[in-house]
């Protein structure tokens, strides 16, 4: 049994389980599934700076911080006790393309040749880690949610603005991965 759990889980197992997070949070306490709002709560808690957007009672949203702390611990547990024995099985054409940029280590879920403390102060490293993080945080709040709040919770409750947001997420990702990222990796 443990052997099966240690394999990477196929989409038709993982996807429905992720979907079940929606009713789980609703039934446990009428909470809407959403993750990026935790970043807003951090701002409201630590640096509200009299900005109206951060003036609200964040203590009521503490559940969200517990939730993301759980995700952090889940990552820790999965990698310690249930780690995959094999590297990620990727499409050969992606492997070939990445090798052009010197990315050949597929042992971790993060590309260790691009995302590491050593690479942080290089130009591509700064763009990917600092720039990418900033865009994720800024964009998610500007859009009013991220993949969980819009693509999963929003679509599950048939909100058409969430469909607009999800389509825009995908367009942005396509543009980045296909047309901009290659130039960054060549730097």
């Amino acid at each position: 049994m443990l052997e099966i759990i240690k394999q990477p889980w196929p989409w038709y197992v993982a996807g429905p389980l992720i979907g079940l997070t929606v009713p789980a949070l609703l039934i446990l306490g009428n909470k809407s599934f959403g993750i990026s709002s935790s970043l807003r709560h951090v701002c409201a808690m630590c640096v509200p700076a009299k900005i109206p957007f951060f003036q609200y009672d964040w203590k009521k949203e503490l559940w969200n911080m517990f939730f993301v702390l759980g995700i952090f611990l889940g990552g820790m547990i999965a990698v310690t006790f249930l780690a995959n024995t094999e590297p990620v099985q990727l499409n050969p054409s992606l492997v070939k393309e990445l090798s052009i940029y010197g990315v050949t280590d597929f042992s971790s879920l993060v590309p260790v040749e691009l995302v590491s403390w050593n690479k942080l102060l290089t130009l591509p490293g700064l763009i990917m880690m600092v720039g990418g993080g900033f865009l994720v945080g800024f964009g998610a709040r500007y859009a009013g949610g991220c993949t969980s709040g819009h693509a999963i919770m929003g679509l599950a409750t048939l909100q058409w603005p969430s469909l607009v947001a999800t389509v825009c997420f995908m367009i942005g990702g396509f543009v980045m991965a296909n047309w901009i990222l290659p130039f960054i990796l060549m730097m």
Partner: protein, 169 residues
């Protein structure tokens, strides 16, 4: 008089929270802090899922945006489908929370932020290979440098909040 001003504050508080369209569900019941531990457990299971299904893999996200694999589409698609059916069942049978409260849904209002913000978020997603959830799981996995990405995401959120009034919505 005093009463109406309290009501007004409550109203504007609701507005501020509703602009996020996420953090509006309020529980009328006052619970002790440790009631929140149940969300930690859900998060924990969710984090394990993220790792085991390779959702937090930068490579998997690159495959998705290059249309080289069905994996991520299958995950998001089936998650949405299961979520949709669950929400329908909750509404249909008026299922209540475990503490007996009604489950509520708030409609999201359209604004141009969903387009501009969505595109910017997408660019960031393609770069980092992680949306906010996976960032937490990646750090847990031991990729400590992702803390920098997370802090930067908090900074992005703050800058949005600071310049919110000047941005087109």
């Amino acid at each position: 008089m005093a009463n109406s001003s309290v009501e007004q504050t409550a109203q504007s508080e609701h507005d501020i929270r509703a602009t996020d369209s996420i953090c509006i569900n309020e529980s009328q019941k006052q619970h002790k802090w440790y009631y929140n531990l149940k969300y930690l457990v859900v998060g924990l299971l969710f984090g394990v899922l993220f790792v085991k299904a390779e959702v937090i893999s930068w490579f998997r996200i690159q495959e998705m945006f290059r249309l080289q694999s069905f994996h991520m589409y299958g995950i998001i698609g089936s998650a949405v489908l299961v979520g949709m059916i669950s929400v329908w069942l909750i509404k249909r049978y008026r299922i209540k929370t475990i503490s007996g409260e009604a489950i509520t849904f708030t409609d999201k209002k359209f604004n141009k932020g969903q387009i501009y913000g969505g595109l910017l978020f997408g660019l960031g997603w393609g770069l980092t290979g992680a949306c906010p959830g996976p960032l937490f799981a990646q750090i847990g996995m031991g990729a400590t440098v992702v803390i920098v990405t997370l802090i930067s995401a908090v900074a992005g959120t703050w800058v949005y909040g600071r310049f919110r009034d000047q941005l087109p919505h």
